[in-house]
Symmetry: C2
Subunit: 223 residues, 2 copies
């Protein structure tokens, strides 16, 4: 009789995991870590929060068992707990789907900003995998160069969104382009598709992002 009330323990565990996701900073931390391992400093800089504060939130995620830490030289590298990585990305997806209908502010954003969604002809992961194998598309990664360096879809070309306008010449006009960034609500790829279409390219948007591709066990490249 070491566990007095299994149903209660399970509920407490669910609530604990939910609490870990219950702060905007931590959601962002998890989104970052879903792309791959990062040091405290690297994450703090990217999300614009003090190092000490970032460290606190990471410790909390660690306590809940969502992330693991290892030392590498001077830095501590955090990553999503390996056993849960795919489940955590799936959980982010579940939260997003619920929020889409439930939370008023998000419904508005989803409506306003992503209204163009259907027109961008999103490509599903399975389709994209097939077309990559066929070699029938050019993959465009519009994330910042440092994120690209840490991991990307196989064969992707990296043109960060803010350089896109100057580097249009690097893109093919005779093949379809599929643009992606971090995840399904990452804005970069939306803007990239809009920009490229305005310039006459045949371009579609990958409906998920790097995190989901990786979590699905599909092949990735790194330096």
């Amino acid at each position: 009789m070491s566990s007095p009330n299994p149903a209660g323990v399970v509920r407490a565990a669910l609530a604990e995991v939910a609490k870990a996701f219950g702060h905007e900073h931590r959601v962002e931390l998890i989104e970052q870590l879903a792309q791959g391992p990062r040091s405290v400093e690297a994450i703090a800089e990217r999300i614009g929060v003090s190092v000490a504060n970032t460290s606190q939130h990471l410790r909390q995620l660690h306590r809940t068992g969502l992330v693991t830490a290892r030392r590498s030289g001077k830095r501590v590298i955090y990553r999503l707990a390996e056993a849960s990585e795919a489940d955590i990305v799936a959980l982010l997806g579940s939260l997003r789907r619920v929020a889409e209908h439930a939370v008023a502010s998000m419904e508005r954003v989803a409506g306003e900003y992503f209204h163009a969604r259907d027109r961008l002809e999103p490509v599903a992961a399975a389709d994209l995998a097939i077309r990559l194998r066929e070699g029938s598309v050019t993959l465009l990664d519009v994330r910042p160069a440092d994120e690209f360096a840490l991991g990307r879809l196989p064969g992707a070309l990296n043109i960060p969104l803010n350089q896109l306008r100057q580097r249009l010449a690097e893109l093919p006009r005779d093949r379809q382009i599929v643009a992606y960034c971090r995840g399904p609500y990452c804005v970069l790829s939306f803007e990239a598709v809009a920009e490229l279409r305005a310039n006459g390219f045949d371009v579609r948007r990958f409906q998920d992002g790097y995190s989901e591709w990786k979590a699905a066990g599909l092949p990735v490249e790194a330096v």
Copy 2:
């Protein structure tokens, strides 16, 4: 430019939904409502929390958009927001999968208490649906009678767990029995299977529960 930073809005929305799940009571409220609409009083009594407190938590879920309320005579009946119902049940599942690996206390419970899981030969929803259509199994609902009355799998026989021992005669010995209760970690069906096996019945466990069956759009019966 009505939404200044879409990614931020999305993250805030996710965190808000997560917060709503970030308390044991609210997880239990949601689990209850996943079975069907209930009044404040009915829920409060079942989960053993004061009516006032239950009302507060329900109001919070309402603010987040997870539940809707309507008046019916003296009572206010809450239910999961229709547009999100299936997504909410899926979110509970995601939380559970993450917690299983991440949260130490739950891992222990999952190990200790549900170790017998495989031996109970869980039946998946799709399989169960087929076998019900064939009429090749007897379905046993071991939840309390009031929950059964509010909704159940088609053709199920209700014997609440605490009456099971006295009512074994009502169960067939020449057909397989499939027992279910509220959800995948609901203890009732685990105990029912154990009890029935000890008495020589051919019995398996439905791996999900009423909530999941209903959320999957499979047919249900009610009074």
